[in-house]
Structure formats: C-alpha cells, structure tokens
C-alpha cells in the first residue's frame, strides 16, 4: 500500500515561538489536491505519455482537439482555446 514515503526531515516550523504548529488546521486542502497532485504531477505525466505514444507535437494537438470537441451540457465546461498552450 505504501509505495511512496516522505523524506525524514524536520518540520521547519517545529520550534516556532508564537504558536504550536501541530494544533493548526490545514487550509486549502482541495487547492493542494487540484493544483499540486493533479495539475503539477498527474497532468504532466499523462501529457508526456501521450507525447511518447503519438509523437512530440501531434500528442499536444490531439489533446487540444479532443478538449475543444466537448458538447454543450450543463455544469460541463467547454475549452474553446488551446488547452495545452495556457
């Protein structure tokens, strides 16, 4: 189950004078989930995998084309512009 593991390093706010860092609540869980684990890592891996399959430029073009063909439906967003160039 535990394939990944953090490096054993001390917390930088361990001996903070003003507060106890372990009693704090983490803000923006979902931001870390979306922008961190998805956008920074998983999206990059998928795009580079498609580049390996279909070729360097053709993979990106295929992604843009596919995302611009989303049909109109409620709560689903259309990506008219080139998604990978943003």
């Amino acid at each position: 189950m535990r394939l990944w593991k953090l490096a054993n390093c001390p917390n930088f706010a361990n001996a903070h004078a003003g507060c106890n860092i372990y009693s704090h609540m983490n803000v923006d869980w979902l931001h870390q989930l979306l922008k961190g684990s998805f956008k920074d890592h998983t999206w990059e891996w998928i795009v580079s995998f498609l580049k390996d399959i279909d070729g360097q430029e053709k993979g990106l073009d295929l992604i843009d084309e596919q995302f611009s063909m989303i049909l109109w439906f409620s709560n689903i967003r259309q990506f008219a512009d080139k998604l990978t160039h943003m």
Binding site: K5, L33, L34, K35, S37, L50, I70
Partner: protein, 167 residues
Amino acid sequence: MQTNLPTCNNGPVPSTKDMVQTLLAQFAPFLKGHPDHLKAIKSVTDFILITSYHSHPKTTLKDLQDALSGISSKIHLFLTYRNRHSMSEIPEIDSLLHHIECIREMGSHDNSDTEISEAAHETLLKDGYHYSQLVSNIPQMLQWETHPFDIKSRVRVRRHIFNTYSL
C-alpha cells in the same frame, strides 16, 4: 460603490476542476491499448472528485479507499517521467494518504473552496504590488487593501446619518 473584489464565479480561465471532470472521457480514445494507464487516471480523478463532496457516508469513504489503492497500485506506470525514477518525495501525492483519516475525524472538506483564495490573491496581492512603489512595498500593499473598505464604511455611516436625521 465599486470595490475591487471580484466575484467568485468560474471566470474566463478554466479551472482545474473542470478539466478533471471531463478528463477520463477525453483521454479514453487515446489510451485504448493501455488499460492500466486508464485505470490510473480514473483512480486519480475519482479521488479528486469524491473528496470535494459535501458529505461523506461510509460508501463514499470506501470509494475513496478504493481510489487510493488504485493510485498506489498503478502509479508506478508513470515512473519514467519522474526525474530520479522514484515516486518518493512528492509531498502532494503523499498527502493523499491523510485525506480519509482527516474526513473521518474532522468532517468533509467543504469550506476549503479554493476559488476565494485564488480570487483574493489576484486583487489583494498582485494589484497591490503593482500599485505600490516596489520599495518597502508591504505597508503600501496593506494600506491599499484597507482603502476600499474604509471608503465603504464611511459612505455607510454618512448614509445612515442622512437617513435618520434628514427631514
């Protein structure tokens, strides 16, 4: 009175959640010969979408656990795209392990809506920095932040005085 605070709608820039919602359907035609990669993507998107639910009965927690085990069993397929060919030392991926425990103890992740902080970051930090003199900018940015709220409160007080004491 016009304040510079933006409204928190989806805005012109597509958010990441919109991408996550349709991601599996978009990549399914490309990955026809690679079902394991498709399963890895499915478990990642499942995990992200289920964590943003507003309430969590036992069934969704079980779904979360299934998604997590799917990620951990299939994530080695993307090992070649990591720098040092190891999946360790990614704090974002490591934090996925704590979501289920956190939901069990503290409740669901609502109120951790990301768009408020994103929108506030646009005006309160970036525009404030832009309008400051770039030298000792932090006091200027703080003053710039409170300025529209000061004006708004003064206008409210004067309107109250005008309404109550005018004939």
